[in-house]
Protein backbone atom coordinates (compact mmCIF):
# COMPACT_ATOMS: atom_id res chain seq x y z
CA UNK A 1 0.00 0.00 0.00
CA UNK A 2 1.36 3.34 -0.92
CA UNK A 3 1.80 6.12 1.53
CA UNK A 4 -1.28 8.18 2.16
CA UNK A 5 -3.70 5.57 0.89
CA UNK A 6 -6.73 4.83 2.95
CA UNK A 7 -6.60 1.15 3.77
CA UNK A 8 -9.01 -0.98 5.70
CA UNK A 9 -6.44 -2.26 8.07
CA UNK A 10 -4.35 0.71 8.82
CA UNK A 11 -5.22 2.44 12.04
CA UNK A 12 -8.51 0.72 12.67
CA UNK A 13 -7.75 -2.40 14.64
CA UNK A 14 -9.61 -2.64 17.89
CA UNK A 15 -6.42 -3.40 19.80
CA UNK A 16 -4.38 -0.59 18.36
CA UNK A 17 -3.60 2.09 20.85
CA UNK A 18 -4.60 5.69 20.64
CA UNK A 19 -6.11 5.90 17.21
CA UNK A 20 -6.75 9.18 15.55
CA UNK A 21 -10.30 10.42 15.97
CA UNK A 22 -12.77 9.33 13.33
CA UNK A 23 -13.49 12.31 11.12
CA UNK A 24 -17.13 13.21 11.35
CA UNK A 25 -19.27 15.71 9.53
CA UNK A 26 -19.92 17.29 12.88
CA UNK A 27 -17.01 16.73 15.22
CA UNK A 28 -16.61 18.02 18.73
CA UNK A 29 -12.87 18.34 18.52
CA UNK A 30 -10.03 17.79 16.09
CA UNK A 31 -10.38 19.32 12.69
CA UNK A 32 -13.63 21.15 13.51
CA UNK A 33 -16.80 21.35 11.47
CA UNK A 34 -15.33 22.37 8.15
CA UNK A 35 -12.13 20.37 8.61
CA UNK A 36 -14.12 17.28 9.49
CA UNK A 37 -16.46 17.89 6.56
CA UNK A 38 -13.63 18.05 4.03
CA UNK A 39 -11.72 15.22 5.68
CA UNK A 40 -14.78 12.99 5.47
CA UNK A 41 -15.27 13.78 1.79
CA UNK A 42 -11.57 13.29 1.13
CA UNK A 43 -11.61 9.85 2.70
CA UNK A 44 -14.83 9.01 0.86
CA UNK A 45 -13.12 9.96 -2.41
CA UNK A 46 -10.10 7.78 -1.67
CA UNK A 47 -12.41 4.92 -0.67
CA UNK A 48 -14.38 5.32 -3.91
CA UNK A 49 -11.18 5.26 -5.95
CA UNK A 50 -10.01 2.08 -4.22
CA UNK A 51 -13.38 0.45 -4.87
CA UNK A 52 -13.31 1.42 -8.56
CA UNK A 53 -9.75 0.14 -8.91
CA UNK A 54 -10.66 -3.15 -7.23
CA UNK A 55 -13.87 -3.52 -9.23
CA UNK A 56 -12.27 -3.22 -12.66
CA UNK A 57 -9.45 -5.67 -12.03
CA UNK A 58 -9.99 -9.45 -12.04
CA UNK A 59 -10.89 -11.77 -10.45
CA UNK A 60 -14.52 -10.66 -10.51
CA UNK A 61 -16.79 -11.66 -7.67
CA UNK A 62 -19.82 -12.75 -9.73
CA UNK A 63 -21.30 -15.02 -7.08
CA UNK A 64 -21.20 -12.34 -4.44
CA UNK A 65 -22.66 -9.83 -6.91
CA UNK A 66 -25.60 -12.12 -7.64
CA UNK A 67 -26.15 -12.61 -3.91
CA UNK A 68 -26.15 -8.85 -3.40
CA UNK A 69 -28.49 -8.28 -6.36
CA UNK A 70 -30.92 -10.63 -4.66
CA UNK A 71 -30.43 -8.98 -1.30
CA UNK A 72 -30.82 -5.43 -2.56
CA UNK A 73 -33.42 -6.17 -5.23
CA UNK A 74 -35.84 -8.93 -4.43
CA UNK A 75 -35.73 -8.38 -0.67
CA UNK A 76 -36.47 -4.67 -1.06
CA UNK A 77 -39.26 -5.25 -3.57
CA UNK A 78 -42.16 -5.73 -1.11
CA UNK A 79 -41.24 -2.58 0.80
CA UNK A 80 -40.78 -0.52 -2.35
CA UNK A 81 -44.03 -1.83 -3.83
CA UNK A 82 -45.88 -0.97 -0.64
CA UNK A 83 -44.42 2.54 -0.54
CA UNK A 84 -45.21 3.08 -4.23
CA UNK A 85 -48.77 1.86 -3.69
CA UNK A 86 -49.26 4.21 -0.75
CA UNK A 87 -48.00 7.11 -2.83
CA UNK A 88 -50.45 6.21 -5.61
CA UNK A 89 -53.37 6.12 -3.19
CA UNK A 90 -52.44 9.41 -1.53
CA UNK A 91 -51.80 11.17 -4.84
CA UNK A 92 -55.08 9.98 -6.21
CA UNK A 93 -57.04 11.22 -3.22
CA UNK A 94 -55.23 14.56 -2.94
CA UNK A 95 -55.10 15.33 -6.65
CA UNK A 96 -58.65 14.29 -7.27
CA UNK A 97 -59.96 16.84 -4.77
CA UNK A 98 -57.73 19.62 -6.10
CA UNK A 99 -58.43 19.01 -9.77
CA UNK A 100 -62.17 18.74 -9.17
CA UNK A 101 -62.07 22.14 -7.48
CA UNK A 102 -60.39 23.67 -10.56
CA UNK A 103 -62.60 21.79 -13.03
CA UNK A 104 -59.73 19.80 -14.44
CA UNK A 105 -60.60 16.32 -13.27
CA UNK A 106 -59.95 14.88 -16.73
CA UNK A 107 -56.25 15.53 -16.10
CA UNK A 108 -56.21 13.24 -13.08
CA UNK A 109 -54.61 10.20 -14.82
CA UNK A 110 -51.86 12.36 -16.30
CA UNK A 111 -51.28 14.12 -12.98
CA UNK A 112 -50.90 10.81 -11.17
CA UNK A 113 -48.72 9.19 -13.84
CA UNK A 114 -46.41 12.17 -14.19
CA UNK A 115 -46.12 12.73 -10.45
CA UNK A 116 -45.36 9.09 -9.76
CA UNK A 117 -43.02 8.41 -12.66
CA UNK A 118 -41.13 11.68 -12.68
CA UNK A 119 -40.61 12.31 -9.01
CA UNK A 120 -42.49 10.39 -6.36
CA UNK A 121 -41.54 6.88 -7.49
CA UNK A 122 -37.81 7.57 -7.83
CA UNK A 123 -37.41 9.54 -4.62
CA UNK A 124 -39.55 7.20 -2.53
CA UNK A 125 -37.59 4.23 -3.87
CA UNK A 126 -34.33 6.00 -3.07
CA UNK A 127 -35.40 6.77 0.48
CA UNK A 128 -36.87 3.35 1.17
CA UNK A 129 -33.75 1.60 -0.12
CA UNK A 130 -31.59 4.05 1.85
CA UNK A 131 -33.37 2.92 4.97
CA UNK A 132 -33.46 -0.81 4.34
CA UNK A 133 -30.31 -1.46 2.36
CA UNK A 134 -28.20 1.43 3.68
CA UNK A 135 -28.75 0.40 7.29
CA UNK A 136 -28.23 -3.26 6.42
CA UNK A 137 -24.95 -2.73 4.58
CA UNK A 138 -23.67 -0.25 7.17
CA UNK A 139 -24.45 -2.52 10.10
CA UNK A 140 -23.22 -5.71 8.43
CA UNK A 141 -19.88 -4.30 7.32
CA UNK A 142 -19.40 -2.49 10.62
CA UNK A 143 -20.02 -5.70 12.51
CA UNK A 144 -17.54 -7.51 10.27
CA UNK A 145 -15.04 -4.73 10.85
CA UNK A 146 -15.14 -4.71 14.63
CA UNK A 147 -14.96 -8.51 14.81
CA UNK A 148 -11.89 -8.53 12.50
CA UNK A 149 -13.74 -10.45 9.78
CA UNK A 150 -12.70 -7.85 7.21
CA UNK A 151 -9.10 -8.19 8.40
CA UNK A 152 -9.48 -11.95 8.03
CA UNK A 153 -10.64 -11.49 4.43
CA UNK A 154 -7.65 -9.28 3.74
CA UNK A 155 -5.29 -11.70 5.48
CA UNK A 156 -6.65 -14.44 3.21
CA UNK A 157 -5.31 -12.44 0.24
CA UNK A 158 -8.80 -11.40 -0.84
CA UNK A 159 -9.44 -7.74 -1.61
CA UNK A 160 -12.31 -6.63 0.65
CA UNK A 161 -12.94 -3.58 -1.53
CA UNK A 162 -13.72 -5.94 -4.40
CA UNK A 163 -15.57 -8.61 -2.44
CA UNK A 164 -17.57 -6.49 -0.03
CA UNK A 165 -17.82 -2.93 -1.35
CA UNK A 166 -17.78 -3.16 -5.14
CA UNK A 167 -20.42 -5.91 -5.24
CA UNK A 168 -22.78 -4.08 -2.90
CA UNK A 169 -22.39 -0.73 -4.65
CA UNK A 170 -22.88 -2.29 -8.08
CA UNK A 171 -25.95 -4.17 -6.84
CA UNK A 172 -27.45 -0.90 -5.58
CA UNK A 173 -26.70 0.86 -8.88
CA UNK A 174 -28.29 -1.92 -10.94
CA UNK A 175 -31.31 -2.59 -8.75
CA UNK A 176 -32.49 0.94 -7.97
CA UNK A 177 -33.90 1.63 -11.48
CA UNK A 178 -35.65 -1.74 -11.48
CA UNK A 179 -37.12 -1.13 -8.05
CA UNK A 180 -38.20 2.31 -9.23
CA UNK A 181 -40.09 0.75 -12.12
CA UNK A 182 -41.84 -1.50 -9.61
CA UNK A 183 -42.70 1.47 -7.39
CA UNK A 184 -43.96 3.40 -10.42
CA UNK A 185 -46.13 0.50 -11.55
CA UNK A 186 -47.61 0.05 -8.08
CA UNK A 187 -48.16 3.78 -7.70
CA UNK A 188 -49.95 4.14 -11.02
CA UNK A 189 -52.01 1.02 -10.42
CA UNK A 190 -53.09 2.07 -6.94
CA UNK A 191 -53.77 5.59 -8.20
CA UNK A 192 -56.17 4.10 -10.74
CA UNK A 193 -57.63 1.71 -8.16
CA UNK A 194 -58.33 4.49 -5.68
CA UNK A 195 -59.86 6.66 -8.35
CA UNK A 196 -61.98 3.84 -9.69
CA UNK A 197 -63.52 3.25 -6.27
CA UNK A 198 -65.28 6.60 -6.44
CA UNK A 199 -65.65 6.82 -10.20
CA UNK A 200 -65.45 3.59 -12.24
CA UNK A 201 -62.74 3.85 -14.88
CA UNK A 202 -61.00 1.13 -16.87
CA UNK A 203 -57.30 0.66 -16.21
CA UNK A 204 -56.57 0.70 -19.91
CA UNK A 205 -58.32 4.08 -20.31
CA UNK A 206 -56.53 5.44 -17.24
CA UNK A 207 -53.15 4.43 -18.64
CA UNK A 208 -53.96 5.64 -22.14
CA UNK A 209 -54.92 9.05 -20.84
CA UNK A 210 -52.13 9.12 -18.25
CA UNK A 211 -49.34 8.43 -20.69
CA UNK A 212 -50.80 10.44 -23.58
CA UNK A 213 -48.16 12.74 -24.96
CA UNK A 214 -45.44 11.23 -22.78
CA UNK A 215 -42.08 10.68 -24.47
CA UNK A 216 -39.13 8.54 -23.47
CA UNK A 217 -37.49 11.74 -22.24
CA UNK A 218 -40.29 12.03 -19.71
CA UNK A 219 -39.98 8.48 -18.50
CA UNK A 220 -36.43 7.18 -18.77
CA UNK A 221 -34.25 9.90 -17.20
CA UNK A 222 -36.26 10.03 -13.96
CA UNK A 223 -36.08 6.24 -13.72
CA UNK A 224 -32.40 5.94 -14.49
CA UNK A 225 -31.40 8.81 -12.23
CA UNK A 226 -32.01 6.36 -9.40
CA UNK A 227 -28.84 4.56 -10.48
CA UNK A 228 -27.10 7.60 -9.00
CA UNK A 229 -29.15 7.15 -5.84
CA UNK A 230 -27.95 3.54 -5.79
CA UNK A 231 -24.35 4.67 -6.12
CA UNK A 232 -24.80 7.09 -3.24
CA UNK A 233 -26.54 4.56 -0.99
CA UNK A 234 -24.03 1.78 -1.66
CA UNK A 235 -20.97 3.98 -1.44
CA UNK A 236 -21.95 5.81 1.73
CA UNK A 237 -23.13 2.66 3.51
CA UNK A 238 -20.01 0.66 2.58
CA UNK A 239 -17.76 3.56 3.55
CA UNK A 240 -19.43 4.10 6.91
CA UNK A 241 -19.46 0.38 7.63
CA UNK A 242 -15.87 -0.37 6.66
CA UNK A 243 -14.36 2.52 8.63
CA UNK A 244 -16.19 1.68 11.84
CA UNK A 245 -14.43 1.53 15.16
CA UNK A 246 -15.54 0.97 18.70
CA UNK A 247 -17.49 -2.28 19.14
CA UNK A 248 -21.27 -2.46 19.36
CA UNK A 249 -21.60 1.29 19.75
CA UNK A 250 -19.60 1.78 16.55
CA UNK A 251 -21.85 -0.66 14.71
CA UNK A 252 -24.92 1.27 15.82
CA UNK A 253 -23.32 4.54 14.79
CA UNK A 254 -22.40 3.14 11.39
CA UNK A 255 -25.92 1.89 10.73
CA UNK A 256 -27.49 5.19 11.76
CA UNK A 257 -25.04 7.38 9.91
CA UNK A 258 -25.37 5.21 6.79
CA UNK A 259 -29.12 5.81 6.67
CA UNK A 260 -28.98 9.48 7.61
CA UNK A 261 -26.18 10.41 5.21
CA UNK A 262 -27.43 8.26 2.34
CA UNK A 263 -30.97 9.70 2.65
CA UNK A 264 -29.64 13.23 2.87
CA UNK A 265 -27.38 12.82 -0.15
CA UNK A 266 -30.16 11.13 -2.15
CA UNK A 267 -32.41 14.14 -1.57
CA UNK A 268 -29.63 16.58 -2.43
CA UNK A 269 -28.67 14.57 -5.51
CA UNK A 270 -32.30 14.59 -6.58
CA UNK A 271 -32.30 18.38 -6.65
CA UNK A 272 -29.23 18.42 -8.87
CA UNK A 273 -30.45 15.59 -11.09
CA UNK A 274 -33.90 17.11 -11.64
CA UNK A 275 -32.26 20.31 -12.84
CA UNK A 276 -29.82 18.31 -14.96
CA UNK A 277 -32.65 16.32 -16.56
CA UNK A 278 -34.66 19.47 -17.26
CA UNK A 279 -31.66 20.99 -19.02
CA UNK A 280 -30.42 17.94 -20.92
CA UNK A 281 -33.81 16.31 -21.69
CA UNK A 282 -36.12 19.33 -22.11
Amino acid sequence: MTSGELTLSEGNHSKQPKQRAEPALVSESGPGLFGGFFEWFGELGIFAWQVVRAAVTPPYEWQELIRQLDDVGSKSLPLVALAGSAIGVVLSMETSASLTRFGAKSLLPSAIVYSVVQEMGPIITGLVVSGRVGAGIGAQLASMKVTEQIDAIEASAINPFRLLAATRILACILMLPLLTLAADACGVFMGWFTQSLSEPLSLRHFIDVGFRGATLNDLLPPTFKTAVFGLIIGLVACFQGMRTRGGAEGVGRAATSSVVLASLFVILADVVLVKFILVVFP
Partner: protein, 262 residues
Protein backbone atom coordinates in the same frame (compact mmCIF):
# COMPACT_ATOMS: atom_id res chain seq x y z
CA UNK B 1 -10.34 -39.91 4.19
CA UNK B 2 -9.15 -39.93 0.62
CA UNK B 3 -8.51 -36.63 -1.03
CA UNK B 4 -7.65 -35.77 -4.57
CA UNK B 5 -6.31 -32.36 -3.65
CA UNK B 6 -2.81 -31.82 -4.96
CA UNK B 7 -0.80 -30.41 -2.09
CA UNK B 8 2.15 -29.92 -4.44
CA UNK B 9 0.29 -26.97 -5.95
CA UNK B 10 1.76 -24.86 -3.16
CA UNK B 11 4.79 -26.76 -1.90
CA UNK B 12 6.65 -25.64 1.18
CA UNK B 13 10.27 -24.72 0.53
CA UNK B 14 12.98 -27.24 1.24
CA UNK B 15 13.43 -26.80 4.94
CA UNK B 16 16.81 -28.39 5.28
CA UNK B 17 18.44 -26.57 2.41
CA UNK B 18 16.74 -23.21 2.85
CA UNK B 19 19.15 -20.51 4.00
CA UNK B 20 16.72 -17.65 3.51
CA UNK B 21 14.78 -17.03 6.72
CA UNK B 22 11.02 -17.47 6.45
CA UNK B 23 10.48 -14.17 8.23
CA UNK B 24 13.11 -11.51 8.81
CA UNK B 25 12.14 -8.31 10.57
CA UNK B 26 14.74 -5.61 10.93
CA UNK B 27 14.65 -2.33 12.83
CA UNK B 28 10.88 -2.11 12.55
CA UNK B 29 9.21 1.08 13.74
CA UNK B 30 5.50 1.73 13.98
CA UNK B 31 3.67 4.54 15.74
CA UNK B 32 0.04 5.47 16.18
CA UNK B 33 -0.13 9.19 16.67
CA UNK B 34 2.45 10.15 19.27
CA UNK B 35 2.65 6.64 20.70
CA UNK B 36 5.50 4.45 19.53
CA UNK B 37 4.29 0.87 19.37
CA UNK B 38 7.22 -0.82 17.67
CA UNK B 39 10.57 0.76 18.32
CA UNK B 40 13.25 -1.00 16.30
CA UNK B 41 12.13 -4.63 16.46
CA UNK B 42 14.51 -7.11 14.88
CA UNK B 43 13.59 -10.80 14.61
CA UNK B 44 14.35 -13.77 12.40
CA UNK B 45 12.42 -17.01 12.07
CA UNK B 46 13.82 -19.85 9.97
CA UNK B 47 11.59 -22.20 8.00
CA UNK B 48 10.30 -24.95 10.27
CA UNK B 49 10.98 -22.96 13.44
CA UNK B 50 8.51 -21.51 15.91
CA UNK B 51 9.10 -18.23 17.68
CA UNK B 52 6.92 -17.16 20.59
CA UNK B 53 6.66 -13.44 21.19
CA UNK B 54 5.83 -12.63 24.80
CA UNK B 55 5.27 -9.40 26.61
CA UNK B 56 2.84 -7.26 28.54
CA UNK B 57 -0.40 -6.04 26.99
CA UNK B 58 0.08 -3.04 24.74
CA UNK B 59 3.72 -3.70 23.93
CA UNK B 60 2.99 -4.13 20.23
CA UNK B 61 2.93 -7.92 19.88
CA UNK B 62 -0.24 -8.05 17.81
CA UNK B 63 0.82 -4.99 15.82
CA UNK B 64 4.02 -6.86 14.93
CA UNK B 65 1.97 -9.72 13.45
CA UNK B 66 -0.26 -7.27 11.58
CA UNK B 67 2.78 -5.58 10.07
CA UNK B 68 4.23 -8.93 9.03
CA UNK B 69 1.06 -9.93 7.17
CA UNK B 70 0.63 -6.46 5.71
CA UNK B 71 -2.47 -5.40 7.62
CA UNK B 72 -0.53 -2.44 8.98
CA UNK B 73 2.20 -0.50 7.27
CA UNK B 74 5.43 0.11 9.18
CA UNK B 75 6.77 3.63 9.54
CA UNK B 76 10.27 2.36 8.79
CA UNK B 77 12.28 -0.82 8.82
CA UNK B 78 12.32 -3.99 6.81
CA UNK B 79 10.02 -7.02 6.70
CA UNK B 80 11.13 -9.86 4.43
CA UNK B 81 8.98 -12.89 3.78
CA UNK B 82 11.12 -15.70 2.38
CA UNK B 83 13.56 -13.06 1.24
CA UNK B 84 10.98 -10.77 -0.35
CA UNK B 85 10.76 -7.27 1.08
CA UNK B 86 7.14 -6.35 1.81
CA UNK B 87 7.40 -3.07 3.69
CA UNK B 88 7.04 -1.08 0.49
CA UNK B 89 4.80 -3.46 -1.43
CA UNK B 90 1.53 -1.74 -2.38
CA UNK B 91 -1.75 -3.20 -1.17
CA UNK B 92 -2.49 -4.69 -4.59
CA UNK B 93 0.77 -6.60 -4.55
CA UNK B 94 0.30 -8.19 -1.11
CA UNK B 95 -2.02 -10.93 -2.34
CA UNK B 96 0.62 -13.41 -3.45
CA UNK B 97 2.69 -12.82 -0.33
CA UNK B 98 -0.32 -13.28 1.95
CA UNK B 99 -1.11 -16.59 0.30
CA UNK B 100 2.12 -17.87 1.81
CA UNK B 101 0.90 -16.99 5.29
CA UNK B 102 -1.87 -18.24 7.51
CA UNK B 103 -3.20 -16.01 10.27
CA UNK B 104 -5.13 -17.12 13.33
CA UNK B 105 -6.83 -14.09 14.86
CA UNK B 106 -7.14 -13.71 18.60
CA UNK B 107 -10.92 -14.14 18.48
CA UNK B 108 -10.75 -16.46 15.45
CA UNK B 109 -12.62 -13.87 13.30
CA UNK B 110 -14.77 -16.53 11.64
CA UNK B 111 -17.27 -15.23 9.10
CA UNK B 112 -20.45 -15.32 11.14
CA UNK B 113 -22.79 -15.62 8.16
CA UNK B 114 -21.05 -18.79 6.93
CA UNK B 115 -21.01 -22.28 8.39
CA UNK B 116 -17.83 -23.78 9.77
CA UNK B 117 -17.28 -25.69 6.53
CA UNK B 118 -17.90 -22.61 4.41
CA UNK B 119 -15.43 -20.65 6.53
CA UNK B 120 -12.71 -23.18 5.80
CA UNK B 121 -13.71 -23.35 2.14
CA UNK B 122 -13.64 -19.56 1.77
CA UNK B 123 -9.94 -19.14 0.85
CA UNK B 124 -10.13 -22.18 -1.42
CA UNK B 125 -13.11 -20.78 -3.32
CA UNK B 126 -11.17 -17.61 -4.04
CA UNK B 127 -7.69 -18.94 -4.67
CA UNK B 128 -8.12 -22.53 -5.84
CA UNK B 129 -10.63 -21.93 -8.57
CA UNK B 130 -9.21 -24.92 -10.40
CA UNK B 131 -10.53 -27.23 -7.70
CA UNK B 132 -13.82 -28.95 -8.35
CA UNK B 133 -16.54 -28.77 -5.73
CA UNK B 134 -15.88 -32.34 -4.61
CA UNK B 135 -12.14 -31.68 -4.36
CA UNK B 136 -12.87 -28.61 -2.29
CA UNK B 137 -15.27 -30.50 -0.05
CA UNK B 138 -12.66 -33.20 0.45
CA UNK B 139 -10.04 -30.61 1.30
CA UNK B 140 -12.38 -28.92 3.80
CA UNK B 141 -13.06 -32.26 5.49
CA UNK B 142 -9.34 -32.98 5.54
CA UNK B 143 -8.60 -29.63 7.20
CA UNK B 144 -11.44 -29.99 9.68
CA UNK B 145 -10.19 -33.48 10.40
CA UNK B 146 -6.74 -32.14 11.20
CA UNK B 147 -8.21 -29.91 13.89
CA UNK B 148 -10.79 -32.46 15.07
CA UNK B 149 -13.81 -30.49 13.92
CA UNK B 150 -15.38 -32.66 11.18
CA UNK B 151 -18.63 -32.98 13.09
CA UNK B 152 -19.07 -29.20 13.30
CA UNK B 153 -18.90 -28.69 9.55
CA UNK B 154 -22.51 -27.53 9.18
CA UNK B 155 -22.68 -25.55 12.40
CA UNK B 156 -22.61 -21.78 12.55
CA UNK B 157 -19.64 -20.16 14.35
CA UNK B 158 -21.98 -18.72 16.98
CA UNK B 159 -23.03 -22.26 17.93
CA UNK B 160 -19.56 -23.53 18.82
CA UNK B 161 -17.30 -22.73 21.78
CA UNK B 162 -14.36 -20.33 21.77
CA UNK B 163 -11.87 -23.20 21.68
CA UNK B 164 -13.69 -24.78 18.76
CA UNK B 165 -13.71 -21.44 16.95
CA UNK B 166 -9.94 -21.26 17.36
CA UNK B 167 -9.63 -24.74 15.86
CA UNK B 168 -11.77 -23.76 12.90
CA UNK B 169 -9.76 -20.54 12.54
CA UNK B 170 -6.65 -22.67 12.46
CA UNK B 171 -8.13 -24.93 9.79
CA UNK B 172 -9.00 -21.86 7.72
CA UNK B 173 -5.48 -20.48 8.19
CA UNK B 174 -4.09 -23.76 6.85
CA UNK B 175 -6.40 -23.93 3.84
CA UNK B 176 -3.88 -22.60 1.33
CA UNK B 177 -0.97 -24.65 2.72
CA UNK B 178 0.88 -21.63 4.06
CA UNK B 179 4.62 -21.68 4.60
CA UNK B 180 4.31 -19.32 7.54
CA UNK B 181 1.74 -19.42 10.33
CA UNK B 182 1.00 -16.38 12.47
CA UNK B 183 -0.93 -17.05 15.67
CA UNK B 184 -2.31 -14.16 17.70
CA UNK B 185 -2.99 -15.30 21.25
CA UNK B 186 -4.09 -18.81 20.27
CA UNK B 187 -4.93 -19.78 23.84
CA UNK B 188 -6.30 -16.48 25.14
CA UNK B 189 -9.65 -16.79 26.86
CA UNK B 190 -9.59 -20.58 26.87
CA UNK B 191 -9.73 -22.91 29.86
CA UNK B 192 -6.49 -24.80 30.67
CA UNK B 193 -7.69 -28.02 29.03
CA UNK B 194 -8.70 -26.25 25.81
CA UNK B 195 -5.42 -24.31 25.89
CA UNK B 196 -3.49 -27.56 26.16
CA UNK B 197 -5.47 -29.02 23.26
CA UNK B 198 -4.72 -26.00 21.10
CA UNK B 199 -1.01 -26.25 22.01
CA UNK B 200 -0.94 -29.92 21.05
CA UNK B 201 -2.77 -29.14 17.84
CA UNK B 202 -0.30 -26.40 16.90
CA UNK B 203 2.63 -28.72 17.64
CA UNK B 204 1.09 -31.48 15.55
CA UNK B 205 0.45 -29.14 12.64
CA UNK B 206 3.98 -27.78 12.80
CA UNK B 207 5.39 -31.29 12.71
CA UNK B 208 3.22 -32.25 9.76
CA UNK B 209 3.48 -29.05 7.72
CA UNK B 210 7.00 -27.86 8.67
CA UNK B 211 5.89 -24.24 8.69
CA UNK B 212 7.64 -21.29 10.23
CA UNK B 213 5.42 -19.94 13.00
CA UNK B 214 5.26 -16.80 15.06
CA UNK B 215 3.05 -17.09 18.12
CA UNK B 216 2.07 -14.02 20.07
CA UNK B 217 1.01 -15.00 23.56
CA UNK B 218 0.86 -14.03 27.22
CA UNK B 219 0.94 -17.67 28.15
CA UNK B 220 4.51 -18.66 29.03
CA UNK B 221 3.56 -22.31 29.50
CA UNK B 222 2.01 -22.40 26.03
CA UNK B 223 5.04 -20.60 24.58
CA UNK B 224 7.44 -23.13 26.12
CA UNK B 225 5.35 -25.98 24.76
CA UNK B 226 5.07 -24.91 21.15
CA UNK B 227 8.06 -22.67 20.44
CA UNK B 228 11.72 -23.34 19.67
CA UNK B 229 12.68 -19.88 20.82
CA UNK B 230 11.08 -17.09 22.78
CA UNK B 231 11.35 -13.34 22.43
CA UNK B 232 10.19 -10.84 25.02
CA UNK B 233 8.91 -7.53 23.79
CA UNK B 234 8.98 -4.49 26.03
CA UNK B 235 8.28 -0.90 25.10
CA UNK B 236 8.17 -1.81 21.43
CA UNK B 237 11.47 -3.61 21.29
CA UNK B 238 12.82 -7.13 21.72
CA UNK B 239 14.79 -7.13 24.96
CA UNK B 240 15.79 -10.79 24.79
CA UNK B 241 15.48 -13.69 22.39
CA UNK B 242 16.51 -17.29 22.96
CA UNK B 243 15.44 -20.57 24.47
CA UNK B 244 13.63 -20.73 27.79
CA UNK B 245 16.93 -21.60 29.44
CA UNK B 246 18.51 -18.48 27.94
CA UNK B 247 15.68 -16.41 29.36
CA UNK B 248 16.11 -18.00 32.79
CA UNK B 249 19.78 -17.08 32.80
CA UNK B 250 19.11 -13.48 31.88
CA UNK B 251 20.10 -10.65 34.20
CA UNK B 252 17.54 -8.27 32.75
CA UNK B 253 15.23 -7.23 35.55
CA UNK B 254 12.10 -7.17 33.37
CA UNK B 255 12.81 -10.70 32.12
CA UNK B 256 13.32 -12.00 35.64
CA UNK B 257 10.09 -10.40 36.78
CA UNK B 258 8.20 -11.63 33.71
CA UNK B 259 9.32 -15.23 34.26
CA UNK B 260 8.59 -14.98 37.97
CA UNK B 261 4.98 -13.87 37.58
CA UNK B 262 4.18 -16.00 34.54
Amino acid sequence: MATTYDIAANPAPNVQNSVVPAVAVEDLHKSYGAQKVLNGVTLTVAQGETLAVLGRSGTGKSVLLRVIIGLAKPDSGSVRIQGQEIADVPLDGMGEIRKKMGFLFQHAALYDSLTVGENVAFPLEHHRRDMSRSQRDDRVMQLLGEVGMESARNKMPSNISGGMQKRVGLARALALDPHILLLDEPTAGLDPISSGEIDELVLKLQREHQMASIVVTHDLHSARTIANSLAILDKGNVIIEGTYDDLQKSDIEFVKEFLKVS
